[in-house]
């Protein structure tokens, strides 16, 4: 089975190719079911590989399958090769597993869209790219997937490309990611220069022999790449805008899988990070913690149901980088998995709400939906409890794990993480109340300026929210189940219950925490409950004033400043280059031309129009040159 690891990405690729050719003929919904089946088959193969790996001893759980030589030149030997080890297969399991669920969900969600089959073509291509990223046995195959998911993300964000905002958001995502990709490329150049290979086994194996400077350079350039893909400060900008894409895309790409690629990369090269200068992990931890807090504050004041979740994703990814910076690689992966469960659940739930509300996304026009959409509401509430850190739901365990290691690194980082946890509980409770509880506000024609002011007012009263079809609801139920029990893969009671840690141990650096677990856990639970209580007081009981300052709704004005800079001084600088090109560089040429023609005017008398005269002139010129070379310089 291990040798069949290549099938994992190959099946979605096959799906992509087939739908490209026959998608329109298959049509709605067959193309969707076909794409779902391909990812499901890929999941089945992954399970087979997983079982195979399990049956081996811990040391033997690394298997490389080489398909063919990709770029063999000079000392650069790059193969298209796949690495099956506990880390990559863990990733594959949840990518294909959740991927299948979301494909299925999308069959319902995208039903009736005029570009139905095209959507699934992109979705399969995305699954292929993501699996290449994860399974690549060298940095370049990972980079192939890395850029591939970026391109798919671009296609899918701007899927409804007639909409200006969707087209712009897609472009923004691609370009911002390219900034990070520059970092990824630099990391590859440094790695190849230092160890003569891009294979992870070689790079990580040589970590002990690297100078601190080189190791730091590789680690931090990788981190820059990760900041782009995983939406960390200062490159997070694209992710909130990415919500322009259809909701299944937000769930799959911009919550569960693609955005975790940066975390995966950092864990993959963790041996390098371990030997780099101590400031490198500290930078990563600080960026992670800062992003977590920053995004959480913004989420508090968003009114778009998806924007809340988008900022929440940025914030949760910040946690994962906090974990990496604190040396808790397994905790980062643990949180990545549980987050994939509950965040996919929340996004799909939000999609179900949007679907049921006929494309309304403004939470101020929702409310009281729990009676009309009972399954969506019930599963969403489970997701809420998981992300808010309420035990025994999945998110509690993984978040607690991270906070524990952050405390080891520095109590300040722990405190930032704790405040973020408080805010998370608060804004998620706010969302649940606004959407599912309180008064029904969707008939309110006077609901003030929502996210979609373009909605026809008259249509409001006819709006009848309804529960979604089975293929949308079924994934919600499965994900809700996983969000409840997902923590079980790594319970902190003893070494035997820390299954994920012992599974990953052969390939990932594992540190032990020295801090007492229980007191910190109790504090975290208390903080989470306080957050929930506060939100209930404000939004359900109306006992306290709503605090949603404009600056938070505006995301601290960061996005706007960047756009203003790009549109202002940035654009002027670009225009300056164009001006210089036309007036300085080309101007010099035209100046010379003018000079020549002015001179030529004066010597026009020489221009007899007689070809023989010209020939004589050219001939004598050549002769003179020859003479000069032979006589004057020739015998040098």
């Amino acid at each position: 089975m291990l040798d069949l690891v290549w099938l994992i990405p190959a099946l979605p690729l096959l799906g992509f190719l087939f739908i490209t050719v026959a998608g329109r003929k298959l049509g709605d919904p067959k193309a969707g079911y076909f794409a779902t089946a391909m990812v499901a088959a890929s999941f089945a193969v992954t399970v087979g590989v997983f079982v195979d790996l399990m049956s081996k001893t811990a040391e033997e759980r690394t298997h490389v399958r080489t398909l063919f030589q990709w770029i063999p030149v000079g000392s650069l030997k790059i193969d298209v090769a796949f690495l099956a080890d506990p880390l990559s297969i863990t990733m594959c399991l949840f990518v294909t597993g959740i991927g299948t669920l979301i494909h299925l969900y999308a069959v319902g969600y995208m039903h009736g869209d005029s570009r139905f089959s095209k959507f699934f073509l992109y979705l399969n291509l995305f699954a292929f790219s993501m699996l290449m990223l994860v399974l690549g046995s060298n940095m370049l195959v990972t980079f192939l997937g890395w850029e591939g998911v970026g391109a798919c993300s671009y296609f899918l964000i701007s899927f409804w490309h007639e909409k200006e905002s969707a087209a712009t958001a897609g472009k923004k995502a691609f370009i911002t990611n390219r900034v990070g990709d520059w970092g990824f490329m630099m990391a590859m150049f440094f790695a190849f220069w230092a160890v003569g290979s891009l294979d992870y086994s070689v790079i990580n194996g040589a970590a002990g022999g690297l100078t601190k400077t080189t190791a730091t350079a590789i680690a931090l350039f990788c981190f820059l790449g990760a900041c782009g893909k995983s939406a960390q400060l200062p490159l997070y900008l694209w992710l909130p805008d990415a919500m322009e894409g259809p909701t299944p895309v937000s769930a799959l790409i911009h919550a569960a899988t693609m955005v975790t690629a940066g975390v995966y990369l950092m864990v993959r090269i963790s041996p390098i990070l371990e030997v780099s200068s101590s400031y490198a992990p500290t930078i990563i931890a600080i960026v992670g913690a800062a992003t977590a807090l920053f995004a959480a504050t913004i989420a508090v004041a968003q009114n778009d149901i998806k924007k809340v979740l988008a900022y929440s994703t940025v914030s949760q990814l910040g946690y994962m980088f906090l974990a990496i910076g604190s040396g808790a690689y397994t905790a980062a992966i643990f949180h990545m998995v549980t987050h994939a469960f509950f965040k996919a659940l929340l996004f799909l739930g939000a999609g179900s709400v949007i679907h049921g509300m006929h494309h309304e996304q403004d939470m101020r026009r929702m409310g009281a939906l729990r009676t009309l959409m009972p399954i969506t509401a019930g599963t969403f509430i489970i997701g809420w409890l998981a992300i808010a850190g309420v035990p025994p739901f999945a998110g509690f365990w993984s978040k607690d794990d991270i906070l524990l290691f952050a405390y080891d690194k520095s109590p300040i980082l722990w405190l930032v993480g704790l405040v973020t946890a408080l805010l998370t509980a608060y804004y998620m409770t706010r969302q649940v109340i606004m959407v599912f509880y309180g008064k029904a506000r969707w008939h309110d024609a006077h609901a003030e300026h929502g996210a979609h002011g373009d909605l026809v007012e008259g249509a409001r009263s006819e709006l009848a929210p309804h529960e979604s079809p089975w293929m949308m609801v079924a994934p919600l139920v499965v994900l809700a189940g996983l969000s409840i029990v997902g923590g079980a893969i790594n319970l902190p009671f003893s070494h035997n219950t820390e299954r994920l840690v012992s599974w990953l141990e052969p390939v990932v650096v594992v540190h032990e925490s020295t801090t007492a677990k229980l007191p910190l856990a109790l504090v975290a639970i208390a903080v989470g409950l306080i957050g929930i209580a506060a939100a209930v007081l404000v939004y359900a009981k109306h006992k306290a004033r709503v605090i949603e300052p404009q600056i938070l709704a505006d995301a601290w004005g960061y996005d706007r400043s960047v756009s203003n800079f790009m549109g202002g001084p940035g654009r002027k600088a670009f225009d300056g280059v164009v001006w210089a090109d036309a007036h300085v560089v080309d101007g010099a040429v035209n100046g010379v031309g003018a000079l020549v023609s002015a001179t030529a005017g004066k010597v026009r008398k020489l221009q007899s129009g007689n070809v023989r005269n010209y020939a004589a002139a050219i001939g004598s010129g050549v002769v003179l040159l020859l003479v000069w070379f032979v006589v004057v310089r020739g015998m040098l």
């Binding site: 063919f68 030589q69 990709w70 770029i71 063999p72 030149v73 000079g74 000392s75 650069l76 850029e147 591939g148 391109a151 671009y154 701007s158 490309h161 007639e162 087209a167 472009k171 691609f174 370009i175 390219r178 520059w182 490329m185 630099m186 590859m188 150049f189 440094f190 220069w193 160890v195 003569g196 290979s197 294979d199 070689v202 990580n204 194996g205 040589a206 970590a207 002990g208 022999g209 041996p271 030997v275 990932v508 650096v509 670009f574 225009d575 280059v577 164009v578 090109d581 560089v585 080309d586 010099a588 040429v589 031309g593 050549v622 040159l625 070379f629 310089r633 020739g634 015998m635 040098l636």
Partner: protein
């Protein structure tokens, strides 16, 4: 046994075709077209034959044919092909029939086709000449048909553009002519007889350092204009924009490559010491070109001009790789010659198709084309992603090899040049958004979908774009040996030392 003179025929067949087309009566337009098509297809077939008969893992010139031409001056008809020129020959051979069959010049077919075939003969000759004088002749021949193609079948401002193109290149050529004559004369000192033979001069002649540098620059200026290297690039946007579609495709795909090819063959090979000495200058100009071209491309309002400026950026990468002087970088440059030819050639075809439909290239007048012509948009998207350098497509392979290969010998230049990949995404995606996204307005609502004929013209490009991106190995196997030989030559004739390839380090036990 006399070998079949395949290379000679590669030049002669299109030349004869040009002559035939020129003498056939105007009243037989079909015969004109058939003749042109047949000769170009025949040439293309022969170039493919060369490709398949070419021995890989062999660094030497193959299919060599040598005949004395002007004995007293040591000028000979000396042709040969090696890994550095092989794919340029094939690209030329394959591209011309496609352009001749697929792009309609709209008027005066006879003269147009005649010039096209003469152009093909000149380009072919340039890529396979191993004699300085012969090379110069072909290099100059190319100018004439291109001048008339731009001037005769171009757009509004074609005369200005054609003249500018001609003058720029002529000035460069004048330097090269002096350089060639001086080189031959100076090289004579060693064996008493004048020779223009490239290999003889390169292998035997020794120039004093200062002389070699002067001569190198005489050649390099001509090639720098052709590439074009910043700041000698301003003829290119004008020429590209004003040239007819067929001319633009040829110009981008093969004509510019005469510059990058020339820098390797007649710059680095002939004057290794000078090339090593001049590295910082060329690396710097190349990197400036990468950024300058990209920034200028971003702000263009004319789609064709945008693609033209993107060429300046891409060619900057190729020059960077050339002067990095490592196996990986130069092999990458040689490969990128081809990749750029495919992707930019295809971009010009697509822009040409847009012009045919809308009679404008102004980005602001185009809108929402993806909605009305999704297949056309998809083709444009694939080509665009190849130009952006998406892994899995051809553009990435060469670009990556250039950058990673140059890192060891030109680190800071690479650090800066790599940011060009960000800008490439900026200018192309922004243009794509403005042209293809959005709701089409009145003028663009009736934009026709890709036609079968157009699709069959684009298909070879798309196939090669994917093939080269996924499986470049067969090409690398043919290019690399010649590059290694060239670098050995450089190392023997200068104090250049390519950094030793690292053996992958494997320590017994990694951390954890």
């Amino acid at each position: 046994m006399i070998e079949f003179p395949i290379l000679t025929l590669l030049v002669l067949v299109p030349a004869v075709g040009a002559l035939l087309v020129a003498v056939i009566s105007k009243r037989q337009p079909d015969l004109v077209k058939v003749t042109a098509l047949l000769t170009s297809v025949l040439t293309g077939g022969m170039s493919l034959w060369v490709l398949f008969a070419f021995k890989s893992h062999n660094p030497d010139f193959q299919f060599v044919s040598q005949h004395t031409w002007i004995k007293p001056w040591g000028i000979s008809w000396h042709l040969g092909v090696d890994g550095i020129s092989l794919f340029l020959v094939v690209l030329t051979g394959v591209l011309f029939p496609l352009v001749i069959a697929g792009v309609d010049p709209h008027h005066d077919h006879k003269r147009y086709l005649s010039w096209m075939l003469l152009l093909e003969a000149g380009v072919m000759g340039s890529f396979i000449s191993l004699d300085l004088f012969l090379f110069f002749v072909f290099f100059e021949i190319v100018l004439v048909p291109m001048y008339f193609l731009i001037g005769g079948w171009g757009y509004d401002n074609r005369v200005y553009a054609a003249t500018k193109f001609f003058l720029f290149t002529m000035v460069g050529s004048a330097f090269m002519l002096v350089g060639i004559i001086a080189t031959a004369v100076l090289a004579k000192a060693d064996d008493g007889r004048v020779t223009f033979d490239l290999i003889k001069i390169a292998e035997n002649a020794t120039f004093a350092a200062s002389t070699g540098r002067w001569l190198f620059f005489a050649f390099a200026i001509a090639f720098a204009v052709k590439v074009p290297l910043f700041p000698l690039h301003t003829w290119l946007p004008d020429a590209h924009t004003q040239a007819p579609t067929g001319g633009s495709v040829i110009l981008a795909a093969v004509l510019l490559k005469m510059g990058t090819y020339g820098l390797l063959r007649f710059g680095v090979y002939l004057f290794p010491e000078a090339a090593v000495w001049a590295r910082p200058l060329f690396l710097t100009l190349a990197v400036i070109g990468v950024l300058w071209g990209a920034v200028a491309a971003t702000m263009q309002t004319d789609l064709k001009r945008l693609v033209a400026y993107s060429s300046v950026a891409h060619l900057g990468f190729i020059v960077l790789g050339t002067f990095a002087l490592t196996t990986t970088a130069i092999t990458g440059s040689v490969l990128q010659n081809i990749s750029h030819g495919l992707s930019t050639g295809a971009l010009f075809l697509l822009v040409g198709m847009i012009y045919e439909r809308r009679h404008t290239r102004e980005i602001s007048k185009l809108k929402g084309l993806q909605k009305v012509a999704p297949v056309f948009a998809a083709a444009f998207m694939v080509v665009m992603l190849s130009s952006i350098g998406l892994p899995g497509l051809n553009g990435f392979v060469g670009e990556f090899m250039i950058l990673i290969g140059s890192f060891a010998t030109a680190r800071w230049w690479v650090v800066v040049a790599a940011s060009g990949v960000i800008l490439a995404a900026v200018y192309l995606l922004w243009a794509y958004q403005r042209v293809f996204h959005g709701e089409p307005d009145e003028d663009n609502k009736a934009f026709p979908e890709l036609r079968w004929k157009e699709a069959s013209l684009l298909l070879p490009f798309l196939a090669l774009i994917v093939f080269t991106g996924v499986f470049p190995k067969p090409m690398l196997n043919r290019i690399e040996p010649s590059v290694n030989k060239l670098l050995d030559h450089v190392e023997q004739n200068s104090d250049w030392q390519q950094p030793e390839p690292l053996e992958p380090v494997i320590s017994e036990e990694g951390e954890g």
